[in-house]
Assembly symmetry: none
Homo-oligomer: 210 residues x 4
Amino acid sequence: MEQDGATATAGTDRAHRGNRHGRSEQARTAVLEAADDLLVAKGFAGVTIEAIAASAGVAKQTIYRWWTSKTDILLDAFLQDAAEELTPPDHGDLGRDLRAHLRQLAHFLTRSDGGAVLRALLGQAQHDPAFATVLRARYLTEQRLRDMLPLERAMRRGDLPADLDAAAEVDQLVGSIFHRVLVTGDPVDDAFVDRLVDGFLIRARSAPPS
Amino acid sequence: MEQDGATATAGTDRAHRGNRHGRSEQARTAVLEAADDLLVAKGFAGVTIEAIAASAGVAKQTIYRWWTSKTDILLDAFLQDAAEELTPPDHGDLGRDLRAHLRQLAHFLTRSDGGAVLRALLGQAQHDPAFATVLRARYLTEQRLRDMLPLERAMRRGDLPADLDAAAEVDQLVGSIFHRVLVTGDPVDDAFVDRLVDGFLIRARSAPPS
Amino acid sequence: MEQDGATATAGTDRAHRGNRHGRSEQARTAVLEAADDLLVAKGFAGVTIEAIAASAGVAKQTIYRWWTSKTDILLDAFLQDAAEELTPPDHGDLGRDLRAHLRQLAHFLTRSDGGAVLRALLGQAQHDPAFATVLRARYLTEQRLRDMLPLERAMRRGDLPADLDAAAEVDQLVGSIFHRVLVTGDPVDDAFVDRLVDGFLIRARSAPPS
Amino acid sequence: MEQDGATATAGTDRAHRGNRHGRSEQARTAVLEAADDLLVAKGFAGVTIEAIAASAGVAKQTIYRWWTSKTDILLDAFLQDAAEELTPPDHGDLGRDLRAHLRQLAHFLTRSDGGAVLRALLGQAQHDPAFATVLRARYLTEQRLRDMLPLERAMRRGDLPADLDAAAEVDQLVGSIFHRVLVTGDPVDDAFVDRLVDGFLIRARSAPPS
DNA sequence: CCCTAATCGAGACGGTACGTCGTGTCTTTCG
DNA sequence: CGAAAGACACGACGTACCGTCTCGATTAGGG
């Protein structure tokens, strides 16, 4: 809940109002949770600074002291909870790892609370280029690297051609999933993911012309 | 638009203000244009009902009489201007048609005013599932059909296997472009589109396993 | 305004929409009744042109064609219904006539629908000097003359000194009643009226010093 | 009023904007003055919450936080400025005190800004029974007690019969004045007031029948 | 006997004000 | 000095009426 960074003050996690040095970990956590809960319960429109403050039992000023906007809060909440949830497994088998990872990605995006937050953040990114940049810098870039891991491992193992453009291939796979989630709204079930992976494996393993 | 006759009469500022059957086309057009202009000029946050009303020279009530929300207005504006702009050409050549169409799609999404509107609408769809449904019903479904045309024509000509899953293939192509636009923010230049099309042509024309 | 002209058409009061010469008596009546009813049912704030039009089944324009404001309508309605209701009786007995008339006035002002309308009109007169003038011209002046009748008759009969300032005396009697109704809100019961009349009779009949 | 100190500091336009306990006296005063000024300058119809807010340099919300309606504001403004203006003098002489007080009342009602506000409030009271109650509770009842003072003092001095119904007598005097102001619109000049007082003195000092 | 002009219903229009909600800033008080 | 509390100026919301207008139907007169 108040993971580790908080451990500086840690130990005594009693309520405090006012503190000579350092911020209240309790307030920070309450804000992030409140933002998350509000998004899930009432949708993006229900996430207002006032509602967060009220439901976190925190003063508005405390929020403005540490965050710049409600998307900033949601991003923090998202990173806190969900960042490491999408690390692909490593069983030494490309098909298995890729399938598992993409299934997990699909499930995360469409079923989890964290996915709802990410979708909201991506929505906001369409309205605010500056925030889009931040979102990419603080999450999407890293996630893309994680998404590429199975392919890179397979290339190192010789399971895939060494000259494969891993980034492009991953973008196509992941892009198909995001397209369904963000644009068409079609369900992203396991069968769909499997077809995607199968198609990729076939074409990637057939000798490239070059 | 057709107000010239009225304004020519001068003196008393008469114009079309209310009428028994049917609404004021003048007001409708002014609202759609104002919404479009505001989005391009000031971004989504600058599109407020009040700003639209003011810059269209229209009463707020007139807007609320005909539209339910600012996204409803933007969608109308978008459909009005840009719906038919993305019809793929038909030169009888799959590679050429597909390339041209996807290049046009990429250009539309990343460079045109209509693309800016569509991106905003897709952003809003992430915040509002009800609007997402409307957006799909009123635009995305139809566009998807248009996107499939080159493949279907090629299949009819025998340029592509008859059992190809055109919808899935198109989603993968289009999805890659949307992924760049909506998620990664990477530029979608002609080279990228060409690589996409080339990859598709190679794999689609090689004998399918079934 | 156009009172009598309307009654000329009279006789055949069947519905008609459109008429070469002359207005619809039916519409006129419906408007006046609707205004009255609305005032009684929902108070002055409930009397809006739109509500009158709706509940009279009449177009707004029809109202604006014949009346200038909602107070104009209420005044018409008031004059139609209630004008002659406050004519003092003539039994040839000052005390009896005066008592009866003032009791009737008190009852009218505090208990009747017509009284509610008059109070509303007097309220509006405080906000709008122009309307105050109209109200006095079209009703209050005449009523004041009626109020003076008992005293004048008594003077002619010799029941009151010939040099009595009837207007001043009546103003004091009527003024006391209006003061209770408009200002203090105290009930204006028969006992109060009787005390008023008794006091007047005593002082008016004792020889004036002049 | 006391905002000069703030504006003198110049540069950064700091002033009193929000504070932990208690409201901004500056905002309160500005609102009351603006309401008063608007009533005098533009009449009751010109007193809108928006106009008050604008001309007081205050946010609408600040008004709604502390007042319930524009009449509530006007009542506050009235009580602030004018409440104690109508205290009768005490020279130990009934005729002189009464004459002076009623002249002052007449002048206040017909000539002063405070009188314009009171007339507007009385007008509104006719439209809104709830407000009528408030107006009586917060002003009229007290004023009535003040109006009675000269008579009560005279009774204590023996200048008037001990069994005089002071309230009734005062209501008749004051009622006559209000009647002219609110109903007939006749001027309320000194001569009128003097006649009123003379009449009262004569009848009150002649032996009462009981 | 139709033509024409006045009036009716309906209702859209440009406006103004309403009362509410959220924003981001500021001030005070407490610990 | 951080935090709770909350008042403030501001701006947008969505609604209610205003008074004006345009329409199409209806109905007398008058030509």
